[in-house]
């Protein structure tokens, strides 16, 4: 029930940001997502930014992934 699309803030004027989504742009309200800057990525739902996307957190998911790969490697070794 929640189409949320990540986009990059191109410019900000008061509480409205112009956000880029792969080349298509939309005005996005920052009323419930203060403290963002040009160049930040935000998750957008119904024309509102609902969360700033942290690059570090994006990396966190990839870290979990590496852990899964490692544990798979270990268990296949055990199976031998």
């Amino acid at each position: 029930m929640c189409l949320g699309v990540p986009g990059k803030i191109v410019s900000i004027k008061e509480d409205i940001a112009e956000v880029d989504f792969g080349g298509v742009r939309r005005e996005v309200s920052l009323l419930i997502c203060p403290g963002v800057m040009e160049g930040d990525y935000v998750l957008v739902h119904v024309g509102f930014a609902i969360q700033r996307l942290e690059k570090e957190d994006a990396l966190e998911t990839l870290r979990l992934f590496e852990e899964i790969e490692r544990s798979y490697g270990e268990s296949t070794e055990e199976d031998r």
Binding site: M1, L3, G4, L31, C33, H45, L53, D57, L62, Y72
Partner: protein, 362 residues
């Protein structure tokens, strides 16, 4: 956008699948409670690659599906009033009420418009001060934050001709009602990623503490969902019942405090009726008394009447995850997306609509 390559492109899902298969001893039932998950699961063909031991079932996560017919009828009646502009999200346009749908009303010449942001309703109200603009608002917590902020902004701008017809509902109370009914056997929940962006992790902890079940807050791409399933399987293998977060790139434990504050300021919970399920305590959002002058449910003289679904319709049990779409005698025969009988077929992300559209079946 190079930095945000979709997760599927950066991950090799076969590794996750192998790990899921490795942990799949015994039968597992995981429920998702988010229409966007229902559609993502079907669209990505996940069921066709998961081991047969893992069953994915849909709960009451489609806000359109659980909107009672009476609320559609009320919106239709309001659209027919003189000088009213009824605005809503596209999701609600095709839902059949007892005698019409908003799409049909538009075809008949009523002023019904699709908006893609709650702020559009403010814009329309300001541009057309002679009209009464009624925003028929549906959604869960993800949308409620935005709607609350828009209402607050409308007050700030002194807009006098905007009204809200709130059909918003809350997910954790629905999960509690489901688990308290003892009708469903579930091993764990795939928790809605974007609702969680707003509410964070804490509202789900009762699932683990009171019911000893697991939950993983999960994103929406196939890679996210597979990872969420893996995390559930891992909990099971390690004998844990916890709420975990797979969708860390977006969901913070504390949620979006700004959104929660403005929701608290503008709305209050009440005992809402969910189509197919019944009344769930504290599960709906209505405008606070101080904002009564914007509340379309109170201001316009439209009677509210509820009609039950036909007896053959199994939507109630499907919404609770007790039955599956093909179990319903009406499924894809009498009840189709073009001519739906019950709520699960009405919305493109209802269980039955998603099943009919995407799953290969005989």
């Amino acid at each position: 956008m190079n930095q945000l390559k979709k997760i599927d492109e950066t991950k090799d899902v076969s590794v996750i699948l192998k790990n899921i298969a490795r942990l799949a001893d015994g039968h597992f039932r995981f429920m998702e409670v988010c229409g966007t998950h229902t559609v993502s699961i079907s669209r990505s063909g996940i069921r066709s690659v998961l081991p047969k031991e893992i069953e994915l079932i849909s709960g009451p996560g489609c806000p359109v599906c659980v909107t009672p017919v009476g609320e559609i009828d009320r919106a239709v009646s309001l659209a027919r009033l003189h000088n009213v502009t009824l605005v809503t999200f596209g999701d609600l346009m095709r839902v059949p009420g007892t005698f019409s749908s908003l799409n049909q009303e538009r075809a008949m010449g009523r002023d019904v418009r699709i908006i893609t942001s709650p702020l559009d309703s403010l814009q329309i109200a300001m541009e057309e001060p002679q009209k009464k603009v009624i925003f028929f608002a549906v959604g869960f917590e993800t949308t409620a934050g935005a709607i609350a902020a828009a209402v607050k902004e409308a007050k700030r701008r002194g807009i006098k001709n905007l009204y809200i017809l709130s059909s918003q509902r809350l997910i954790p109370p629905a999960i509690r009602a489901l688990l308290s009914s003892n009708n469903v056997t579930i091993d764990g929940f795939i928790l809605p990623g974007h609702v969680s962006v707003i509410i964070g992790k804490t509202p789900y902890t009762f699932i683990a503490h009171e019911f000893s079940l697991m939950g993983v807050i999960t994103g929406f791409e196939a890679g996210d969902i597979l990872e969420g399933i893996y995390m559930l399987m891992r909990q099971k293998a390690e004998g844990r019942s916890e709420i975990e977060n797979q969708y860390t790139r977006v969901v913070k434990d504390e949620g979006n405090r700004m959104a929660l504050e403005v929701m608290e300021e503008i709305f209050e919970p009440f005992n809402a009726h969910w189509r197919g399920i019944g009344v769930i305590p504290e599960s709906g959002l209505m405008l606070r008394k101080e904002l009564r002058e914007m509340d379309a449910a109170f201001l316009f003289d439209i009677p509210y009447e509820e009609k039950p679904d036909p007896p053959d319709c199994l939507c109630g049990e499907i919404l609770q995850g007790i039955k599956k779409p093909p179990d319903c005698p009406l499924f894809n025969k009498r009840c189709t997306p073009e001519d739906p009988v019950g709520p699960c077929m009405v919305s493109s992300e209802g269980s039955c609509a998603a099943f009919q559209k995407y799953e290969v079946f005989e």
